[in-house]
Subunit: 312 residues, 2 copies
Protein backbone atom coordinates (compact mmCIF):
# COMPACT_ATOMS: atom_id res chain seq x y z
CA UNK A 1 0.00 0.00 0.00
CA UNK A 2 1.48 3.42 -0.88
CA UNK A 3 1.77 6.35 1.51
CA UNK A 4 -1.43 8.10 0.40
CA UNK A 5 -3.41 4.86 0.71
CA UNK A 6 -1.94 4.28 4.17
CA UNK A 7 -2.96 7.81 5.24
CA UNK A 8 -6.46 7.28 3.84
CA UNK A 9 -6.79 4.06 5.82
CA UNK A 10 -5.97 6.08 8.96
CA UNK A 11 -2.63 4.36 9.60
CA UNK A 12 -1.16 6.22 12.58
CA UNK A 13 2.49 5.79 11.56
CA UNK A 14 1.80 7.00 8.00
CA UNK A 15 -0.07 10.01 9.42
CA UNK A 16 2.73 10.85 11.85
CA UNK A 17 5.31 10.61 9.05
CA UNK A 18 3.16 12.87 6.83
CA UNK A 19 2.81 15.48 9.57
CA UNK A 20 6.56 15.53 10.10
CA UNK A 21 7.04 15.99 6.35
CA UNK A 22 4.63 18.95 6.41
CA UNK A 23 6.40 20.51 9.38
CA UNK A 24 9.78 20.05 7.70
CA UNK A 25 8.59 21.56 4.40
CA UNK A 26 9.59 18.30 2.75
CA UNK A 27 8.65 18.43 -0.99
CA UNK A 28 7.18 14.92 -0.60
CA UNK A 29 4.49 16.44 1.63
CA UNK A 30 3.14 18.45 -1.28
CA UNK A 31 3.06 15.41 -3.54
CA UNK A 32 1.18 13.52 -0.86
CA UNK A 33 -1.34 16.33 -0.35
CA UNK A 34 -1.90 16.49 -4.10
CA UNK A 35 -2.79 12.81 -4.11
CA UNK A 36 -5.00 13.12 -1.05
CA UNK A 37 -6.80 16.32 -2.01
CA UNK A 38 -9.66 14.66 -3.94
CA UNK A 39 -10.52 12.69 -0.79
CA UNK A 40 -10.90 15.75 1.44
CA UNK A 41 -13.84 18.01 2.22
CA UNK A 42 -15.72 15.59 4.43
CA UNK A 43 -14.44 16.67 7.84
CA UNK A 44 -16.07 19.24 10.09
CA UNK A 45 -13.40 21.54 11.54
CA UNK A 46 -14.05 22.65 15.08
CA UNK A 47 -11.85 25.44 16.48
CA UNK A 48 -11.37 25.65 20.26
CA UNK A 49 -9.56 28.69 21.58
CA UNK A 50 -9.05 30.48 24.87
CA UNK A 51 -6.36 31.89 27.13
CA UNK A 52 -4.01 29.54 29.04
CA UNK A 53 -5.80 28.09 32.04
CA UNK A 54 -9.28 28.06 30.53
CA UNK A 55 -9.26 24.25 30.34
CA UNK A 56 -9.10 23.80 26.56
CA UNK A 57 -7.39 20.40 26.59
CA UNK A 58 -9.82 18.95 29.11
CA UNK A 59 -12.82 20.23 27.19
CA UNK A 60 -11.41 18.95 23.88
CA UNK A 61 -10.86 15.51 25.41
CA UNK A 62 -14.47 15.50 26.67
CA UNK A 63 -15.79 16.55 23.26
CA UNK A 64 -13.68 13.85 21.58
CA UNK A 65 -15.13 11.25 23.95
CA UNK A 66 -18.67 12.50 23.22
CA UNK A 67 -18.14 12.22 19.46
CA UNK A 68 -16.55 8.80 19.84
CA UNK A 69 -19.59 7.68 21.85
CA UNK A 70 -21.77 8.31 18.79
CA UNK A 71 -19.27 6.59 16.48
CA UNK A 72 -17.60 9.59 14.88
CA UNK A 73 -13.86 9.48 14.30
CA UNK A 74 -11.89 12.38 15.73
CA UNK A 75 -8.60 14.11 14.94
CA UNK A 76 -7.14 16.64 17.36
CA UNK A 77 -4.49 19.21 16.44
CA UNK A 78 -3.23 21.02 19.54
CA UNK A 79 -1.32 24.14 18.53
CA UNK A 80 0.91 25.93 20.96
CA UNK A 81 2.82 28.73 19.27
CA UNK A 82 4.45 29.77 22.53
CA UNK A 83 6.26 26.46 22.83
CA UNK A 84 9.47 26.38 20.83
CA UNK A 85 9.81 22.64 21.41
CA UNK A 86 7.67 19.82 20.11
CA UNK A 87 9.40 17.40 22.45
CA UNK A 88 7.34 18.36 25.47
CA UNK A 89 4.23 18.60 23.36
CA UNK A 90 4.72 15.05 22.15
CA UNK A 91 4.99 13.86 25.70
CA UNK A 92 1.73 15.66 26.39
CA UNK A 93 0.15 13.86 23.43
CA UNK A 94 1.12 10.53 24.87
CA UNK A 95 -0.43 11.40 28.21
CA UNK A 96 -3.62 12.60 26.51
CA UNK A 97 -3.75 9.56 24.25
CA UNK A 98 -3.95 7.36 27.33
CA UNK A 99 -7.40 8.81 27.94
CA UNK A 100 -8.43 7.36 24.59
CA UNK A 101 -6.29 4.24 24.99
CA UNK A 102 -6.80 1.57 22.37
CA UNK A 103 -9.26 3.72 20.43
CA UNK A 104 -8.07 3.95 16.83
CA UNK A 105 -10.82 6.52 16.21
CA UNK A 106 -8.93 9.33 17.97
CA UNK A 107 -5.71 10.82 16.64
CA UNK A 108 -3.95 13.56 18.63
CA UNK A 109 -1.06 15.65 17.43
CA UNK A 110 0.59 18.72 18.95
CA UNK A 111 2.23 21.35 16.81
CA UNK A 112 4.53 24.06 18.02
CA UNK A 113 6.24 26.99 16.38
CA UNK A 114 8.40 26.12 13.40
CA UNK A 115 10.05 28.08 10.64
CA UNK A 116 8.96 31.45 9.40
CA UNK A 117 6.46 32.67 6.81
CA UNK A 118 3.28 32.12 8.81
CA UNK A 119 4.30 28.48 8.84
CA UNK A 120 2.16 27.44 11.74
CA UNK A 121 -1.23 28.40 10.33
CA UNK A 122 -0.25 26.87 7.03
CA UNK A 123 1.07 23.64 8.54
CA UNK A 124 -2.09 23.38 10.63
CA UNK A 125 -4.24 23.75 7.50
CA UNK A 126 -2.25 21.00 5.79
CA UNK A 127 -2.50 18.67 8.78
CA UNK A 128 -6.26 19.30 8.91
CA UNK A 129 -6.42 18.30 5.23
CA UNK A 130 -4.47 15.16 6.03
CA UNK A 131 -6.79 14.15 8.88
CA UNK A 132 -9.74 14.95 6.63
CA UNK A 133 -8.35 12.57 3.97
CA UNK A 134 -7.75 9.99 6.71
CA UNK A 135 -11.50 9.94 7.25
CA UNK A 136 -11.66 11.86 10.54
CA UNK A 137 -15.18 13.24 10.69
CA UNK A 138 -14.44 15.79 13.40
CA UNK A 139 -11.12 17.63 13.29
CA UNK A 140 -10.58 19.72 16.40
CA UNK A 141 -8.10 22.61 16.21
CA UNK A 142 -7.12 23.58 19.74
CA UNK A 143 -5.14 26.79 20.23
CA UNK A 144 -4.29 29.52 22.71
CA UNK A 145 -6.09 32.56 21.38
CA UNK A 146 -3.33 35.13 21.16
CA UNK A 147 -1.38 36.36 18.17
CA UNK A 148 -2.15 36.53 14.49
CA UNK A 149 -1.05 32.97 13.75
CA UNK A 150 -3.72 31.61 16.03
CA UNK A 151 -6.47 33.83 14.77
CA UNK A 152 -5.52 32.55 11.31
CA UNK A 153 -5.77 28.99 12.63
CA UNK A 154 -9.27 29.35 14.05
CA UNK A 155 -10.34 31.17 10.89
CA UNK A 156 -9.93 27.77 9.22
CA UNK A 157 -12.56 26.21 11.42
CA UNK A 158 -16.17 25.65 10.41
CA UNK A 159 -17.25 26.44 13.96
CA UNK A 160 -15.21 28.13 16.66
CA UNK A 161 -15.65 27.83 20.41
CA UNK A 162 -14.15 30.59 22.54
CA UNK A 163 -13.50 29.55 26.14
CA UNK A 164 -13.72 31.93 29.06
CA UNK A 165 -13.44 31.21 32.78
CA UNK A 166 -14.37 33.26 35.83
CA UNK A 167 -11.53 34.95 37.67
CA UNK A 168 -9.06 35.41 34.82
CA UNK A 169 -9.28 39.20 35.08
CA UNK A 170 -8.34 40.50 31.67
CA UNK A 171 -10.08 37.60 29.96
CA UNK A 172 -12.96 39.69 28.69
CA UNK A 173 -10.51 42.35 27.66
CA UNK A 174 -8.55 39.93 25.52
CA UNK A 175 -11.75 38.66 23.98
CA UNK A 176 -12.67 42.11 22.83
CA UNK A 177 -9.41 42.20 20.98
CA UNK A 178 -10.06 39.90 18.07
CA UNK A 179 -11.65 36.72 19.40
CA UNK A 180 -15.11 38.25 19.53
CA UNK A 181 -15.41 38.16 15.77
CA UNK A 182 -14.38 34.52 15.39
CA UNK A 183 -16.60 33.09 18.16
CA UNK A 184 -19.57 31.05 17.02
CA UNK A 185 -20.21 29.71 20.52
CA UNK A 186 -18.91 30.97 23.86
CA UNK A 187 -18.07 28.34 26.46
CA UNK A 188 -18.02 29.53 30.04
CA UNK A 189 -15.88 26.78 31.51
CA UNK A 190 -15.14 26.16 35.21
CA UNK A 191 -18.70 27.40 35.60
CA UNK A 192 -18.82 26.24 39.23
CA UNK A 193 -16.41 29.01 40.16
CA UNK A 194 -17.42 32.26 41.76
CA UNK A 195 -18.04 35.06 39.29
CA UNK A 196 -19.64 32.86 36.61
CA UNK A 197 -22.89 34.85 36.55
CA UNK A 198 -21.04 38.13 36.27
CA UNK A 199 -18.82 36.84 33.46
CA UNK A 200 -21.85 35.54 31.57
CA UNK A 201 -23.47 38.97 31.85
CA UNK A 202 -20.29 40.62 30.57
CA UNK A 203 -20.05 38.32 27.57
CA UNK A 204 -23.73 38.77 26.78
CA UNK A 205 -23.42 42.55 27.09
CA UNK A 206 -20.54 42.46 24.61
CA UNK A 207 -22.57 40.29 22.28
CA UNK A 208 -25.33 42.91 22.35
CA UNK A 209 -22.85 45.47 21.08
CA UNK A 210 -21.38 43.18 18.41
CA UNK A 211 -22.49 43.69 14.82
CA UNK A 212 -25.32 41.34 13.79
CA UNK A 213 -24.12 38.19 12.01
CA UNK A 214 -27.03 37.25 9.84
CA UNK A 215 -29.35 34.99 11.81
CA UNK A 216 -26.88 33.43 14.26
CA UNK A 217 -26.45 34.84 17.75
CA UNK A 218 -23.48 33.16 19.49
CA UNK A 219 -24.86 31.45 22.61
CA UNK A 220 -23.02 31.32 25.95
CA UNK A 221 -22.89 27.76 27.30
CA UNK A 222 -21.70 26.73 30.75
CA UNK A 223 -19.45 23.74 31.29
CA UNK A 224 -17.32 22.14 33.98
CA UNK A 225 -15.09 20.15 31.65
CA UNK A 226 -13.30 18.29 34.46
CA UNK A 227 -16.65 16.71 35.43
CA UNK A 228 -18.09 16.59 31.92
CA UNK A 229 -20.97 18.86 33.04
CA UNK A 230 -22.59 20.77 30.17
CA UNK A 231 -20.72 18.85 27.47
CA UNK A 232 -23.83 17.17 25.95
CA UNK A 233 -25.50 20.60 25.68
CA UNK A 234 -22.35 21.97 24.03
CA UNK A 235 -22.32 19.14 21.48
CA UNK A 236 -25.97 19.95 20.77
CA UNK A 237 -25.19 23.65 20.27
CA UNK A 238 -22.40 22.77 17.83
CA UNK A 239 -24.83 20.58 15.87
CA UNK A 240 -27.37 23.39 15.90
CA UNK A 241 -24.79 25.80 14.47
CA UNK A 242 -23.75 23.22 11.93
CA UNK A 243 -27.34 22.86 10.74
CA UNK A 244 -27.79 26.63 10.65
CA UNK A 245 -27.63 28.42 7.31
CA UNK A 246 -25.00 30.85 8.59
CA UNK A 247 -22.63 28.00 9.22
CA UNK A 248 -22.94 26.82 5.62
CA UNK A 249 -22.50 30.33 4.21
CA UNK A 250 -19.58 30.98 6.59
CA UNK A 251 -17.94 27.67 5.71
CA UNK A 252 -18.04 28.44 2.01
CA UNK A 253 -16.78 31.99 2.42
CA UNK A 254 -13.97 30.92 4.74
CA UNK A 255 -12.96 28.05 2.46
CA UNK A 256 -12.74 30.32 -0.60
CA UNK A 257 -10.70 32.93 1.33
CA UNK A 258 -8.46 30.21 2.70
CA UNK A 259 -7.80 28.66 -0.71
CA UNK A 260 -7.19 32.02 -2.33
CA UNK A 261 -4.43 32.67 0.18
CA UNK A 262 -3.08 29.13 -0.13
CA UNK A 263 -3.05 29.25 -3.93
CA UNK A 264 -1.03 32.45 -3.81
CA UNK A 265 1.41 30.90 -1.38
CA UNK A 266 1.79 27.69 -3.40
CA UNK A 267 2.15 29.60 -6.66
CA UNK A 268 4.65 32.06 -5.17
CA UNK A 269 6.80 29.24 -3.82
CA UNK A 270 6.60 27.28 -7.05
CA UNK A 271 7.61 30.28 -9.18
CA UNK A 272 10.38 31.23 -6.77
CA UNK A 273 11.85 27.76 -6.84
CA UNK A 274 11.88 27.67 -10.63
CA UNK A 275 13.33 31.15 -11.11
CA UNK A 276 16.03 30.65 -8.46
CA UNK A 277 17.01 27.41 -10.21
CA UNK A 278 17.25 29.20 -13.55
CA UNK A 279 19.26 32.05 -12.01
CA UNK A 280 22.04 29.82 -10.73
CA UNK A 281 20.41 28.16 -7.72
CA UNK A 282 20.87 28.72 -4.00
CA UNK A 283 24.58 29.50 -4.44
CA UNK A 284 23.88 32.46 -6.70
CA UNK A 285 21.21 33.68 -4.29
CA UNK A 286 23.64 33.47 -1.38
CA UNK A 287 26.22 35.47 -3.30
CA UNK A 288 23.58 38.07 -4.21
CA UNK A 289 22.58 38.26 -0.53
CA UNK A 290 26.22 38.99 0.31
CA UNK A 291 26.31 41.79 -2.26
CA UNK A 292 23.13 43.25 -0.79
CA UNK A 293 24.37 42.94 2.80
CA UNK A 294 27.48 44.87 1.80
CA UNK A 295 25.36 47.45 -0.05
CA UNK A 296 26.91 46.73 -3.43
CA UNK A 297 23.49 45.77 -4.84
CA UNK A 298 20.02 47.21 -4.26
CA UNK A 299 17.77 44.20 -3.42
CA UNK A 300 14.63 45.75 -4.89
CA UNK A 301 16.33 46.41 -8.22
CA UNK A 302 18.05 42.98 -8.20
CA UNK A 303 14.74 41.17 -7.77
CA UNK A 304 13.15 42.96 -10.70
CA UNK A 305 16.15 42.15 -12.88
CA UNK A 306 16.02 38.46 -11.93
CA UNK A 307 12.33 38.31 -12.87
CA UNK A 308 12.99 40.03 -16.20
CA UNK A 309 15.81 37.63 -17.02
CA UNK A 310 13.45 34.72 -16.29
CA UNK A 311 11.00 36.18 -18.80
CA UNK A 312 8.49 37.38 -16.21
Amino acid sequence: MDWAAQVRSGDVRALARAISAIEDHDPQAEELLEQLFPFTGGAFLLGVTGAPGTGKSTLVDRLAAAYRAVGRSVGIIAVDPTSPYTGGALLGDRIRMQGHAGDAGVFIRSMATRGFLGGLARATADVALLLDAAGKQMVILETVGVGQDEVDIVRLADCTLVLVVPGLGDEVQSMKAGLMEVADIFVLNKAEREGADQLQQQVEAMLELAPARGGWKPPVLRTTATEGTGVPQLVEAIEKFRAHGDCTADRQGRAVAHWKERLQMLLGEHLLERVVQRSGGAGALESLARDVAERRVNPYTAVREMATRAGI
Copy 2:
Protein backbone atom coordinates in the same frame (compact mmCIF):
# COMPACT_ATOMS: atom_id res chain seq x y z
CA MET B 1 11.58 67.74 -0.76
CA ASP B 2 10.38 64.27 -1.80
CA TRP B 3 9.36 61.48 0.61
CA ALA B 4 12.74 59.72 0.60
CA ALA B 5 14.57 62.98 1.26
CA GLN B 6 12.16 63.79 4.10
CA VAL B 7 12.78 60.36 5.66
CA ARG B 8 16.54 60.83 5.31
CA SER B 9 16.30 64.18 7.07
CA GLY B 10 14.58 62.39 9.96
CA ASP B 11 11.20 64.10 9.47
CA VAL B 12 8.90 62.45 12.01
CA ARG B 13 5.71 62.73 9.95
CA ALA B 14 7.40 61.30 6.85
CA LEU B 15 8.76 58.43 8.96
CA ALA B 16 5.36 57.72 10.50
CA ARG B 17 3.73 57.72 7.06
CA ALA B 18 6.41 55.35 5.74
CA ILE B 19 5.92 52.94 8.65
CA SER B 20 2.17 52.87 8.06
CA ALA B 21 2.83 52.14 4.38
CA ILE B 22 5.10 49.23 5.36
CA GLU B 23 2.50 47.87 7.79
CA ASP B 24 -0.22 48.14 5.15
CA HIS B 25 1.88 46.42 2.46
CA ASP B 26 1.45 49.56 0.36
CA PRO B 27 3.44 49.15 -2.91
CA GLN B 28 4.75 52.71 -2.37
CA ALA B 29 6.67 51.39 0.64
CA GLU B 30 8.79 49.19 -1.58
CA GLU B 31 9.57 52.06 -3.94
CA LEU B 32 10.58 54.18 -0.97
CA LEU B 33 12.80 51.43 0.46
CA GLU B 34 14.44 51.00 -2.94
CA GLN B 35 15.34 54.70 -2.96
CA LEU B 36 16.54 54.64 0.64
CA PHE B 37 18.52 51.39 0.48
CA PRO B 38 21.83 52.96 -0.64
CA PHE B 39 21.75 55.16 2.47
CA THR B 40 21.42 52.28 4.94
CA GLY B 41 23.97 50.11 6.70
CA GLY B 42 25.16 52.71 9.19
CA ALA B 43 22.91 51.88 12.15
CA PHE B 44 23.79 49.50 14.97
CA LEU B 45 20.78 47.26 15.73
CA LEU B 46 20.34 46.42 19.39
CA GLY B 47 17.79 43.71 20.27
CA VAL B 48 16.23 43.77 23.75
CA THR B 49 14.09 40.82 24.71
CA GLY B 50 12.61 39.27 27.83
CA ALA B 51 9.37 38.00 29.30
CA PRO B 52 6.58 40.44 30.24
CA GLY B 53 7.42 42.14 33.53
CA THR B 54 11.20 42.09 33.10
CA GLY B 55 11.28 45.87 32.64
CA LYS B 56 12.22 46.05 28.95
CA SER B 57 10.61 49.43 28.23
CA THR B 58 12.21 51.09 31.24
CA LEU B 59 15.63 49.72 30.38
CA VAL B 60 15.28 50.73 26.72
CA ASP B 61 14.33 54.26 27.77
CA ARG B 62 17.42 54.41 30.02
CA LEU B 63 19.66 53.13 27.23
CA ALA B 64 18.18 55.67 24.81
CA ALA B 65 18.91 58.46 27.30
CA ALA B 66 22.47 57.20 27.75
CA TYR B 67 23.07 57.19 23.98
CA ARG B 68 21.49 60.61 23.62
CA ALA B 69 23.80 61.92 26.35
CA VAL B 70 26.78 61.10 24.12
CA GLY B 71 25.10 62.59 21.06
CA ARG B 72 23.93 59.46 19.26
CA SER B 73 20.53 59.49 17.60
CA VAL B 74 18.18 56.67 18.61
CA GLY B 75 15.25 54.86 17.00
CA ILE B 76 13.12 52.48 19.08
CA ILE B 77 10.84 49.82 17.61
CA ALA B 78 8.72 48.23 20.33
CA VAL B 79 7.16 45.02 19.02
CA ASP B 80 4.31 43.36 20.85
CA PRO B 81 2.92 40.43 18.88
CA THR B 82 0.42 39.61 21.59
CA SER B 83 -1.35 42.93 21.12
CA PRO B 84 -3.84 42.87 18.28
CA TYR B 85 -4.28 46.64 18.50
CA THR B 86 -1.80 49.34 17.65
CA GLY B 87 -4.09 51.93 19.17
CA GLY B 88 -3.07 51.21 22.72
CA ALA B 89 0.53 50.84 21.67
CA LEU B 90 0.48 54.28 20.08
CA LEU B 91 -0.84 55.73 23.31
CA GLY B 92 2.06 54.03 25.06
CA ASP B 93 4.46 55.62 22.56
CA ARG B 94 3.15 59.04 23.40
CA ILE B 95 3.66 58.44 27.10
CA ARG B 96 7.18 57.17 26.49
CA MET B 97 7.97 60.03 24.13
CA GLN B 98 7.30 62.46 26.99
CA GLY B 99 10.37 61.07 28.68
CA HIS B 100 12.36 62.29 25.68
CA ALA B 101 10.23 65.40 25.23
CA GLY B 102 11.51 67.88 22.70
CA ASP B 103 14.39 65.61 21.70
CA ALA B 104 14.29 65.12 17.93
CA GLY B 105 17.08 62.56 18.33
CA VAL B 106 14.73 59.86 19.64
CA PHE B 107 12.03 58.23 17.54
CA ILE B 108 9.73 55.61 19.13
CA ARG B 109 7.29 53.41 17.30
CA SER B 110 5.25 50.43 18.47
CA MET B 111 4.30 47.64 16.15
CA ALA B 112 1.69 44.99 16.82
CA THR B 113 0.52 41.93 14.98
CA ARG B 114 -0.63 42.57 11.44
CA GLY B 115 -1.38 40.42 8.44
CA PHE B 116 -0.04 36.98 7.79
CA LEU B 117 3.10 35.58 6.16
CA GLY B 118 5.54 36.29 8.99
CA GLY B 119 4.60 39.90 8.45
CA LEU B 120 5.80 41.19 11.77
CA ALA B 121 9.45 40.16 11.49
CA ARG B 122 9.49 41.44 7.95
CA ALA B 123 7.82 44.75 8.76
CA THR B 124 10.22 45.20 11.67
CA ALA B 125 13.18 44.65 9.35
CA ASP B 126 11.82 47.24 6.92
CA VAL B 127 11.19 49.78 9.67
CA ALA B 128 14.74 49.21 10.96
CA LEU B 129 15.99 49.94 7.42
CA LEU B 130 13.92 53.11 7.39
CA LEU B 131 15.31 54.36 10.70
CA ASP B 132 18.78 53.44 9.48
CA ALA B 133 18.26 55.59 6.36
CA ALA B 134 16.91 58.35 8.61
CA GLY B 135 20.32 58.49 10.23
CA LYS B 136 19.50 56.83 13.55
CA GLN B 137 22.82 55.50 14.82
CA MET B 138 21.28 53.14 17.39
CA VAL B 139 18.12 51.26 16.42
CA ILE B 140 16.67 49.39 19.40
CA LEU B 141 14.33 46.47 18.70
CA GLU B 142 12.35 45.75 21.86
CA THR B 143 10.28 42.56 21.97
CA VAL B 144 8.72 40.01 24.31
CA GLY B 145 10.82 36.93 23.78
CA VAL B 146 8.24 34.29 22.95
CA GLY B 147 7.26 32.80 19.62
CA GLN B 148 9.06 32.38 16.36
CA ASP B 149 8.25 35.86 15.06
CA GLU B 150 10.14 37.44 17.92
CA VAL B 151 13.12 35.16 17.68
CA ASP B 152 13.23 36.18 14.02
CA ILE B 153 13.11 39.82 15.08
CA VAL B 154 16.02 39.62 17.49
CA ARG B 155 17.97 37.59 14.92
CA LEU B 156 18.10 40.85 12.95
CA ALA B 157 19.98 42.59 15.72
CA ASP B 158 23.72 43.13 15.76
CA CYS B 159 23.71 42.61 19.53
CA THR B 160 20.94 41.09 21.63
CA LEU B 161 20.26 41.67 25.32
CA VAL B 162 18.18 39.05 27.11
CA LEU B 163 16.51 40.34 30.27
CA VAL B 164 15.84 38.17 33.29
CA VAL B 165 14.50 39.16 36.69
CA PRO B 166 14.47 37.35 40.03
CA GLY B 167 11.20 35.76 41.07
CA LEU B 168 9.68 35.09 37.67
CA GLY B 169 9.80 31.34 38.26
CA ASP B 170 9.90 29.77 34.84
CA GLU B 171 12.06 32.55 33.45
CA VAL B 172 15.19 30.44 33.28
CA GLN B 173 13.14 27.66 31.80
CA SER B 174 11.89 29.82 28.98
CA MET B 175 15.40 31.06 28.33
CA LYS B 176 16.59 27.54 27.78
CA ALA B 177 14.04 27.29 25.05
CA GLY B 178 15.52 29.40 22.31
CA LEU B 179 16.67 32.67 23.81
CA MET B 180 19.90 31.20 25.06
CA GLU B 181 21.33 31.03 21.58
CA VAL B 182 20.48 34.62 20.65
CA ALA B 183 21.80 36.27 23.84
CA ASP B 184 24.99 38.28 23.46
CA ILE B 185 24.57 39.85 26.89
CA PHE B 186 22.35 38.82 29.80
CA VAL B 187 20.80 41.63 31.83
CA LEU B 188 19.70 40.69 35.32
CA ASN B 189 17.24 43.53 35.88
CA LYS B 190 15.45 44.40 39.14
CA ALA B 191 18.72 43.25 40.65
CA GLU B 192 17.78 44.65 44.07
CA ARG B 193 15.19 41.90 44.44
CA GLU B 194 15.65 38.80 46.51
CA GLY B 195 16.95 35.85 44.53
CA ALA B 196 19.27 37.87 42.28
CA ASP B 197 22.38 35.92 43.32
CA GLN B 198 20.65 32.62 42.77
CA LEU B 199 19.39 33.67 39.34
CA GLN B 200 22.85 34.86 38.34
CA GLN B 201 24.27 31.48 39.33
CA GLN B 202 21.59 29.70 37.30
CA VAL B 203 22.27 31.77 34.19
CA GLU B 204 26.02 31.32 34.54
CA ALA B 205 25.59 27.58 35.03
CA MET B 206 23.57 27.44 31.82
CA LEU B 207 26.22 29.45 30.03
CA GLU B 208 28.82 26.89 31.10
CA LEU B 209 26.80 24.21 29.35
CA ALA B 210 26.23 26.27 26.19
CA PRO B 211 28.37 25.52 23.15
CA ALA B 212 31.38 27.85 22.81
CA ARG B 213 30.75 30.86 20.55
CA GLY B 214 34.19 31.66 19.26
CA GLY B 215 35.83 34.09 21.65
CA TRP B 216 32.76 35.78 23.16
CA LYS B 217 31.31 34.62 26.46
CA PRO B 218 27.99 36.39 27.12
CA PRO B 219 28.39 38.32 30.38
CA VAL B 220 25.65 38.68 33.01
CA LEU B 221 25.15 42.32 34.00
CA ARG B 222 23.01 43.58 36.87
CA THR B 223 20.74 46.59 36.50
CA THR B 224 17.93 48.36 38.32
CA ALA B 225 16.49 50.13 35.30
CA THR B 226 13.98 52.17 37.31
CA GLU B 227 16.92 53.87 39.09
CA GLY B 228 19.33 53.74 36.18
CA THR B 229 21.72 51.60 38.23
CA GLY B 230 24.09 49.50 36.13
CA VAL B 231 23.12 51.20 32.86
CA PRO B 232 26.56 52.80 32.21
CA GLN B 233 28.18 49.37 32.69
CA LEU B 234 25.65 47.85 30.30
CA VAL B 235 26.40 50.49 27.65
CA GLU B 236 30.08 49.69 28.10
CA ALA B 237 29.46 45.93 27.67
CA ILE B 238 27.51 46.61 24.45
CA GLU B 239 30.42 48.70 23.13
CA LYS B 240 32.82 45.93 24.11
CA PHE B 241 30.76 43.39 22.18
CA ARG B 242 30.53 45.77 19.25
CA ALA B 243 34.33 46.08 19.14
CA HIS B 244 34.77 42.33 19.48
CA GLY B 245 35.60 40.31 16.38
CA ASP B 246 32.70 37.96 16.99
CA CYS B 247 30.25 40.80 16.69
CA THR B 248 31.62 41.72 13.26
CA ALA B 249 31.58 38.12 12.04
CA ASP B 250 28.09 37.61 13.50
CA ARG B 251 26.80 40.82 11.95
CA GLN B 252 27.98 39.80 8.51
CA GLY B 253 26.64 36.26 8.79
CA ARG B 254 23.27 37.45 10.08
CA ALA B 255 23.00 40.12 7.43
CA VAL B 256 23.65 37.63 4.62
CA ALA B 257 21.14 35.14 6.05
CA HIS B 258 18.61 37.92 6.49
CA TRP B 259 18.99 39.20 2.94
CA LYS B 260 18.88 35.73 1.45
CA GLU B 261 15.49 35.23 3.09
CA ARG B 262 14.30 38.71 2.13
CA LEU B 263 15.40 38.31 -1.49
CA GLN B 264 13.40 35.11 -1.73
CA MET B 265 10.37 36.81 -0.26
CA LEU B 266 10.63 39.84 -2.53
CA LEU B 267 11.23 37.70 -5.59
CA GLY B 268 8.38 35.32 -4.73
CA GLU B 269 5.95 38.22 -4.30
CA HIS B 270 7.11 39.94 -7.45
CA LEU B 271 6.75 36.78 -9.55
CA LEU B 272 3.39 35.98 -8.01
CA GLU B 273 2.05 39.43 -8.77
CA ARG B 274 3.13 39.23 -12.40
CA VAL B 275 1.85 35.71 -13.00
CA VAL B 276 -1.51 36.38 -11.32
CA GLN B 277 -1.88 39.47 -13.51
CA ARG B 278 -1.16 37.44 -16.63
CA SER B 279 -3.58 34.70 -15.54
CA GLY B 280 -6.57 36.99 -15.30
CA GLY B 281 -5.88 38.88 -12.08
CA ALA B 282 -7.43 38.61 -8.62
CA GLY B 283 -10.84 37.75 -10.06
CA ALA B 284 -9.54 34.65 -11.80
CA LEU B 285 -7.71 33.64 -8.63
CA GLU B 286 -10.90 34.03 -6.59
CA SER B 287 -12.83 31.86 -9.03
CA LEU B 288 -10.06 29.24 -8.94
CA ALA B 289 -10.19 29.33 -5.13
CA ARG B 290 -13.93 28.62 -5.34
CA ASP B 291 -13.30 25.63 -7.61
CA VAL B 292 -10.71 24.32 -5.16
CA ALA B 293 -12.96 24.89 -2.14
CA GLU B 294 -15.66 22.87 -3.88
CA ARG B 295 -13.11 20.18 -4.82
CA ARG B 296 -13.57 20.62 -8.57
CA VAL B 297 -9.90 21.51 -8.97
CA ASN B 298 -6.78 20.14 -7.29
CA PRO B 299 -4.83 23.22 -6.06
CA TYR B 300 -1.42 21.59 -6.40
CA THR B 301 -2.07 20.67 -10.03
CA ALA B 302 -3.65 24.08 -10.76
CA VAL B 303 -0.61 25.96 -9.51
CA ARG B 304 1.77 23.94 -11.69
CA GLU B 305 -0.43 24.57 -14.72
CA MET B 306 -0.54 28.32 -14.06
CA ALA B 307 3.24 28.44 -13.87
CA THR B 308 3.60 26.47 -17.09
CA ARG B 309 1.17 28.78 -18.90
CA ALA B 310 3.24 31.76 -17.70
CA GLY B 311 6.30 30.18 -19.26
CA ILE B 312 7.93 29.21 -15.97
